[in-house]
Symmetry: C4
Subunit: 322 residues, 4 copies
């Protein structure tokens, strides 16, 4: 890690060891957790296919990429089958004239392949002879199985349970009661219903141990409220910076000069997926704004019958003296 | 909120802050939770597609609307493809006569499109030439992928775990032991089996704080039984209005004049879906009947071998003096 | 209930009220829980479709019935479409000769319908004219959507998480330590792996209350072991009949003459379905054998490398004096 | 079991009875749990189909076997239908010449079957007559339902939640603090994210009871850390061999001469499957290396922005004196 390690830490704060991260900072590069909640880890030492869950990969890739793969696969497999039909001989495909040019013959074999793969089978071109007929039968099976897989992937993609939660880009050090609090805000942007939401906030810092060696230390940051019944509106996570907090006494300079990271993990029951969903994010000290307050992000509507939640205000805050 | 805020509340009652709702009543319009259990919140500030989970939307819309969307999509996409075939030239569709009227030609192109999209491919009309053949190959792919998506949506619609639970429309203030109780009734109307059912009842009221400012206060209402092994029959939730209850001392007039809401959340394990399902509802003070008692809704059958649960009696009560 | 209600019950035993069953025996007919774990309840007062989860019904019906429904649906819908094609006029179906008999014409329309519904579309018969073409396009859509639904139902049927657990048909009163125990045995017959299995045993009896009125009383029966890590072999549930047990002092005559029921509910984590599965059963007093012992149902194999579980011995016991 | 049973065991160690395994070693052959986590049990006494969950079997078999079954099924069912078409008479299949040889006629019937089963339906061969038409309609239905099932199986196969976790092949007795510890290492090789991982380690040994009879004894081995927030890197399970440990005082010879097994069960929440996944393994005493230490398996990358996890080092250890 590039910056200095933390030289002071509240001695009353108790560290935790159950984060799954090790204690030796020299083994770590960069942040622990990426902004999107994934671990900042590269896996090596196995082959690509041993390391990859291709199903997960197909499920989480962007839609245009997923469609691109399907279209490319379709174009390629038809090319392969067309070449095979052509190699066997187009005279076995009734409906392709023997006096046509080779390009047109190949083109017709290509579209015959597409008609077989998709099981359209118009029949103006049809297979003849054992080899071509068997190949066509194989292609039709291949086509149907491919679409069986595509059906599964489409369903997997849109039925994959996920936590529709957005976080404020910044964490704030805000006035809180008589002191200060570390605040992060979240909301659910979609028409789903998150119940029994629980949050866990962990602080990771590199500090010097008693021998002056840098070690990774992790602290569970207690929250004013770590559970709510329902995430219908916004939820501001508040860690009160009490005398027991590892952040007690930290100044704006400390956040600017030290290396540290606040990891937020949220679990909730989504009553449309009917399952528990989880999401994480992290705030490096660079992303913590010292002396600021979130602005209210919901209000009554005009006829006073509904409450309006303004999702674009999730990271809106104003500077305050603290 | 239109009505007066609650001026008195049992000082022995302890409020809770973990409901996920804020404390400032002026930010709220109308009830907190709708009768169907959804939050009475409008989301703004993101585009429609950022705010919508289209999969959830397709899953929860009524069946006729869902079928309507499928049929419209089918009619429209065939129109688009028919127009493209027509634009390329119907002379590339063998089987469409060149001397036919333009309308008939377009109509035949339209039905050719339908036969390709569904992969029926009778073949009495068949594509010719690169452009038309490629378009037909594309349409067949589009068709199969569309049906892959439709398959997923159908499956998603009927396999979506949901709590088949009906609630009494009204909550009652009934005689209970030596005093009174707030009672709400529920039952499972379907041939599913709900196990380990848990209920949580929360009271939300607008009351004046020590400075006379209205604030939202929430109270967890303890239940005589908040858990049952199996929801085979009806379950009457009973909140005993003891001296510790925030409703202690409330009269019929108080319920009529004040603004408040009782929120019920139920979770259970459905052993056919093999998952935990959740459902909520709420009762505004308007929906609370002061002085009434639910009537029994199940009885032995004639040959004494079965118990009959009469679901239409879920909200049947008789007035009583209390 | 036909038999006498229980007249004596161990006064040290504490009853529970959270079973979900009511206390008034005159409202109940027959046993509480059927042998297959379903509640012995009939639901009334709503229409059939309000009471039925058709998806659950399709999932839990026997395979031959499910296939029968599919085949009947296929035969019927083809009949409907064939009638429509016939009504519009078979002259719009190219390939059906106008001089053929009406039965043959209808038969050909019927098979044309089948070829369209399944999207085979050989093309030796093909639609002509707007009405017939539109009907064929509609039928192809209907066909594909029907198979989309069938695909979902097939998948739903075989992916439905269920607890593959068999119970002994009888419960036994066996010697246990210095006294007696109520014993029931279970095992998992399939090649799945049930972890973290938990059992709950509840006794339901009709007893006389202090005023001599019969009331339903339920007792949680504590087990020697109510949890095991893994249900790899057989698991014998043992309720020690101690002085605190409601069954303390019961004789063979008591079980024969009284009315009562032991309800067993088991939950476990199935690591192939990756979900919690639940199953129940019940033993009426008639099904309790007084003075018997289960025989061992597993043993080492010949070459001492595996353990053999003999599933057909699940209910094998021998009589013993107690 | 072949080897001697354990003659000594730490008398301070407390055994557990909730493993699901019995106490009589003579009923057991070989190890309790296989290396892949399955129980070392053979089930008998029911028919094959009563013992098998064919869905689980199809889901867990290797891919090549699964594809082999599909291809064989396709080849066979076409053979069956071709035979039926042939039996009815190929003169009912328009497009098959009556003067062709019987082999060619059968071959054409075979490919006609394939075209019907996959609903390609080119139409150069088409059914005629009631029997053949009805058979073709039946085959098309059979084909579509088969592909419906295949679609479900494909989806089931790749969407099956599973714990992507690899374990070190060996467990080690390593130096730990001032004494020794039993250590096993695990990591997640794939691009999934395991949260809230919990491990439970159980020791099973055959020991002599007070009467000198061998009995199976199980001990829960307490871990230094039995829970971590996130399995992003490697996780070394450490059982400190304290004075309370059943392994206290064990020497290299004891592990070599005695019969015992360490069973590891891990549960975690996979946030891509959004469900809890479970995995087990076991280490017989033969697989425990006395006096060795795992080598670090992760390090900072070159530009210090990421941490690299080297999965091939999962079982890398060096010998140490202890």
């Amino acid at each position: 890690m590039a910056k200095d390690s933390v030289k002071k830490v509240n001695s009353k704060a108790e560290s935790v060891t159950t984060t799954g991260f090790g204690t030796n900072p020299s083994s770590y590069g960069g942040r622990f957790i990426n902004k999107d909640g994934s671990a900042n880890v590269i896996k090596r030492g196995l082959t690509f296919f041993e390391r990859i869950s291709w199903y997960h990969t197909m499920l989480t890739m962007p839609g245009w990429k997923f469609l691109g793969i399907i279209v490319s696969f379709y174009a390629s497999i038809n090319f392969v089958f067309a070449s095979l039909y052509y190699a066997i001989g187009v005279e076995n495909l009734d409906g392709i004239g023997s006096i046509e040019s080779k390009w047109i013959q190949f083109g017709k074999a290509y579209f015959f392949s597409a008609q077989t793969f998709t099981t359209v089978g118009y029949g103006h071109i049809s297979p003849n002879g054992i080899a071509t007929s068997a190949l066509a039968a194989t292609e039709a099976l291949t086509g149907l199985l491919s679409f069986a897989i595509a059906t599964g992937l489409f369903y997997g993609r849109f039925s994959k349970p996920q936590a529709f939660v957005i976080f404020s880009h910044n964490a704030l050090i805000s006035p809180y009661k008589d002191g200060r609090g570390l605040m992060m805000r979240m909301a659910s942007p979609k028409n789903t219903n998150l119940m029994d939401a629980e949050a866990r906030v962990t602080l990771g810092m590199v500090i010097k141990d008693e021998h002056g060696n840098p070690v990774n230390k992790f602290y569970q940051l207690p929250l004013e409220m770590s559970y709510i019944n329902s995430l219908s509106l916004s939820w501001t996570l508040v860690h009160p910076i009490t005398e027991e907090s590892p952040l007690y006494g930290f100044t704006a300079e400390d956040f600017a000069n030290m290396e540290g990271e606040v990891i937020v993990a949220v679990k909730a029951f989504d009553d449309l997926f009917s399952t528990t969903v989880a999401i994480s994010t992290s705030y490096t000290f660079d992303e913590i704004v010292y002396g600021a307050k979130f602005e209210m992000m919901y209000a009554e509507n005009n006829d006073q019958t509904k409450t309006i939640l303004e999702l674009d205000k999730i990271n809106t805050f104003k500077r305050v003296e603290i």
